[in-house]
Symmetry: C2
Subunit: 662 residues, 2 copies
């Protein structure tokens, strides 16, 4: 890639960014746009324009621990790159610039950027020692920053868990088996509260959704009708609306008893082989969740209960070995998909070295192709992860995120690097087939220029769009003008949704990997990485505080995965600039990963008793309310559920503490 | 090896076995020998000559679950071989005998045994399909028998744990940290009973051992003195004995207050960073052991408490990461030792094919060298396992047994097989270096003859010596005549010790591996394997019921390891007779291992709550007695410990159940 095309794309990205920033400043101040730029504060009933210099505590209060942990991740990457750049840029750039390896080979034209990279160092030059030591520096900086971050996140998680009020998931566990009452009463005579058997709600849910649809239609028709009464000349429409109102009322009257009947049938006859068990204290639930219950493990499994809103009801009754087989099949599919996707990506990256493509195309096409490709994947991966039989939405998101990470690393990063190298030197390889390895080394700095442009596109255009919220604004305006009639519909039109870590984190991990891997070979990439994570931190702190509303809270459960993948990126990097003196580094990285895992991981996988016990001092929780949170909406429409006695088939009564079941 | 030398060794082993059997029948009936042939029954106060047709329950009652599980292991191996042999012998032997591949190559002389093996089948003969199908048959037989055995052992373990009375280890856990009381009282306010801080007892133990030495000397001197008073003419000796009695009495008087003082100092000032915590019920201890306690995992670890008698007191205070580092170092040493031992073993096995060695030497030397070599290892491996920092003796034994297994498989089995193959065909390899693989295949049946002799030696001579107990009898007789003076000394002279699984199991595993691997190539080995495990089962059931006294009970904790190693042996075997059509077999074996592990393993690693809870119905255990069982003898001499108040520094008082610590 020519220096001119690099400057062309970089300049135009910067221009887009500036325009989007100006748009943001202008639009976010305009009245009526608060619901687009400050929806999170509007929902919480806070003044949109207050709350500026926010601490981490404020982020946790507004957006939860998960958002704070995402910011820690961005800050960690930023910290690693800043500390690395402080040494690498002033040392390595002069070392590379003053050598002149590239000038020696005359048949290829090299641009000025490549002269600042390791490609300009002569073979076996003592200057390469500088690059070797730089790799050590980057590795130790990464260890230091990652260790501090893990400690910090572990602390955040413990504090948030201990200080929050008791939630339904804190006193519950999931189990697999019918007739759980006797079993759990026997094993936990003093702490068992009540259990809820999972039922097959497909039919009830269908009726309930139909009912809800008519209810919404009714509200909408009534709003239109009352509006049309004040205006005149829409008589035909009014008549139609009256028909609609009558029709909806009839349907609702018809469906309500149908739903009630179906609810009874469901609770009595459609019980599944799974249950939610509620205990009378957090400590009891935590101890029970972590204790092996049965001699034959697969006959009685217990696991942590997720929040009611993220419970994947239909995955609960799946059996132990069924889940394993499903996981296995999904992994095979993911593996095949990774291999299969390699083909188009390699083809795209080959374009980056084709000389006959126009300069403009050369500047944008590969990057845009990459981004479109990566936008298609997440939904597919979420579907696959759900199919594994995972019982909680946040766990599904984590699983999909992991698969996305493998995709990105193998296909985008390794695919582009190796693909473009092979393509560029295809003819040379034809002549002497044993020369692949040295060629790969010498053409790496060239793909560095490609990734430089890619990173710039991501942060200038990506963050510009994110902060300015131009697309959500347009969608909201259009919906409001042409579609929305009721208050509820307007609210839904500006609802900002959640931050969406599932796709954010793997994308950011790709940037970490790219910047780390090229940091020593072409140190000029570091400032780009710093800009990416610096801007990212600023943008997403703003979005976390003012825009997105989290769908669930996992107390930073994602962190161990982020940590492991950072170390994976570091190891790829350590293998990337391969030399015999590098050998201790991957070994050290594995040791570091092991130590961190041993010290921190378990408290992310389970709840430590000391965290659970710190709840004790507070008031006794309202167990019945916590228990009811798990009743799905289709079984809980209206206030019929207050007298739960009719549903005793599926749900047990609170255990009387004086009775012994031994 | 010539057929004559094989018959020579086989015949002489059989002769030795017959002689030893006759000795056993004669000696075990003679009066005065009960303590050598029935020590276990003598200790339990039962009539030595009763109790013949014993069921598994009787084995458990007499020798514990571990002995029963060892017999299950022998029975499992026997079952696999019998079921395999029923099909393989009548089918494969005729198939091999009627072909004549070996007759074609005239430069080497083959014996009749080799004509019954796969080596006699022509290359690419359709007869090889028979051998392929035989491998499938053996694999499925192994799956079936192993699955039944694992279910059975799991059941044995659960039943024995649930039905035995509450033992100290059932209500205790080990932890690492000073000042455990506050912490555990806080986290387990209703179930915490008491804790005991681990102290550095080196000094106290030294004084106590010295004291015990003088006490024993005193008893011995008194016995000799009272004996000499009735006899006459030993006046000089009597005078000397009186001196000894006085000296010992003085020393004891001097040491007793010294020990008492040291005990106080130890309990107050030598507290270590570890403790035993006792709970008021088995369920509570089980749940606490399995629950994560601290946010930072390595700061507070909890683990299952072993029986008091197998607690390795000095390993308790070792830190989490110290243990990991020690384990790592030990693994490196074991790895190096495995590689290092390869050298002499390869050398020994090379002798087996040297034509210039005399026939007699050829028949015995290699087998004897192997057995001597294997007898040297266990102590070294036990030492290494203890150095890892493992806190319980039975765990150390399991760890050593695992290391021994790797040693035997890599060095003896693979070493002998590959070594002798390489040596035999050394000259041929010199000519055409690419021919190692086909040579290995064709010379395997020859090492099969070697292993045949080896297995025969093991069961004829090994079991003969085991059952006849000639060596323990001679030692006991000699000691009794020349050394023993007191009752205690005589008891110690015939004390049979424990069965010693640590070395038995890996040796048996070697036989399983050998017989499995050669079962299809040279089916004639199967009857030898059947004899080995059949005789073994008979001999050790006798020994378990009448001789050995177990040192500890691990409720068959060894079984998962045996199971995994059986599958490992199966996979080696499936790779051993390598062919493309074999590929599904190792995959199936891994799947089988995974399923068994998922279903059964956890209940061997931890105690399931349903097993712990079945104790509930019984009477409340005497917690103080269970707690006191953990006091080491050097801190508990005499009855001074009954008023434990003076030791309150190191040991907490029982928690009053009415006080709340929240």
């Amino acid at each position: 890639m020519e220096i001119s095309s690099f400057l062309t794309s970089f300049g135009s990205y910067l221009a887009i960014f500036v325009v989007l920033m100006l748009l943001f400043i202008w639009l976010s101040g305009r009245p009526g746009n608060e619901v687009v730029y400050y929806p999170s504060r509007v929902v919480k009933g806070l003044d949109p324009h207050e709350g500026g210099g926010a601490s981490e505590d404020e982020v946790i209060a507004m957006a939860g621990v998960d958002a704070a942990v995402y910011l820690v991740f961005l800050g960690t990457a930023l910290g690693i790159l800043v500390l690395s750049g402080l040494v690498l840029l002033p040392v390595l750039l002069p070392v590379a610039r003053t050598d002149n390896n590239l000038a020696l080979s005359k048949n290829i034209t090299f641009n000025d950027l490549d002269k600042l990279s390791m490609g300009n160092i002569k073979e076996k030059s003592p200057r390469l020692w500088g690059f070797l030591l730089a790799t050590y520096w980057v590795s130790f900086v990464t260890f230091y920053v990652l260790w501090r971050a893990y400690s910090h996140v572990s602390n955040l998680r413990a504090t948030a868990k201990a200080s929050s009020e008791v939630k339904p998931q804190d006193v519950a566990l999931l189990t697999r088996k019918e007739q759980v009452d006797d079993y759990f009463r026997n094993l936990h005579p003093d702490t068992f509260y009540r259990s809820m058997v999972i039922t097959d709600n497909t039919q009830a849910n269908k009726i309930w959704e139909e009912l809800e649809g008519y209810r919404k239609k009714l509200v909408r028709a009534e709003v239109v009708f009352s509006g049309s009464k004040t205006a005149t000349g829409f008589l035909g429409l009014v008549g139609k609306k009256v028909d609609t109102i009558n029709f909806c009322n009839e349907k609702i009257k018809e469906l309500e008893p149908k739903l009630e009947a179906e609810q009874k049938v469901t609770l009595r006859e459609k019980q599944q082989n799974a249950a939610v068990v509620v205990f009378n204290s957090m400590s009891a639930a935590v101890a029970a969740t972590q204790t092996l219950h049965a001699q034959l493990v697969d006959t009685w499994t217990v696991s942590e209960a997720p929040e009611p809103r993220q419970l994947l009801w239909y995955n609960l009754p799946k059996r132990f070995f069924e889940r394993k087989v499903r996981s296995l099949i999904v992994y095979v599919i993911v593996f095949l998909a990774v291999v299969f996707y390699m083909v188009p990506i390699t083809f795209i990256s080959a374009f980056t070295t084709l000389a006959n493509l126009k300069n403009v195309l050369e500047a944008y096409l590969p990057q845009i192709a990459l981004i479109v490709f990566m936008a298609l994947l997440p939904k597919f991966l979420l579907f696959l992860s759900r199919a594994e039989g995972i019982a909680s939405e946040s766990h599904v998101v984590r699983a999909a995120s992991g698969k996305f990470f493998y995709f990105i690393i193998f296909n985008v990063f390794l695919g582009v690097t190796i693909g473009s190298t092979l393509f560029a030197s295809f003819k040379e390889i034809e002549k002497k087939p044993n020369s692949i390895v040295p060629l790969l080394g010498s053409s790496l700095p060239k793909s560095a220029t490609f990734f430089l442009t890619f990173v710039a596109l991501k942060f200038f255009v990506g963050y510009g769009l994110e902060l300015s919220r131009v697309i959500p604004l347009i969608i909201y305006r259009l919906k409001r003008r042409f579609l929305c009639k009721t208050e509820g519909e307007i609210k839904q039109a500006w609802a900002p949704g959640a931050l969406g870590y599932a796709t954010k984190v793997p994308n950011d991990m790709l940037i970490v990997t790219i910047v780390l891997c090229y940091s020593v070979i072409a140190p000029l990439i570091i400032p780009f990485g710093v800009l990416y994570f610096g801007l990212g931190w600023l943008v997403f702190r703003n979005q976390a505080l003012k825009v997105y509303i989290p769908e669930y809270e996992s107390y930073g459960r994602m962190w161990p995965h982020i940590h492991t993948r950072m170390i994976a990126a570091l190891i790829i990097y350590q293998k990337f600039v391969y030399a015999p003196f590098m050998l201790p580094l991957p070994v050290l990285s594995f040791a570091f990963a092991f130590i961190c895992n041993a010290r921190f991981y378990k408290a992310f996988d389970r709840v430590p008793l000391e965290v659970a016990a710190s709840h004790k001092a507070k008031q006794t929780p309202n167990l019945e309310a916590l228990f009811s949170a798990y009743i799905p909406p289709c079984l809980n429409s209206g206030d019929k559920f207050d007298d739960a006695d009719q549903f005793e088939d599926a749900r047990s009564q609170p255990a009387s503490r004086t009775t012994s079941f031994a």
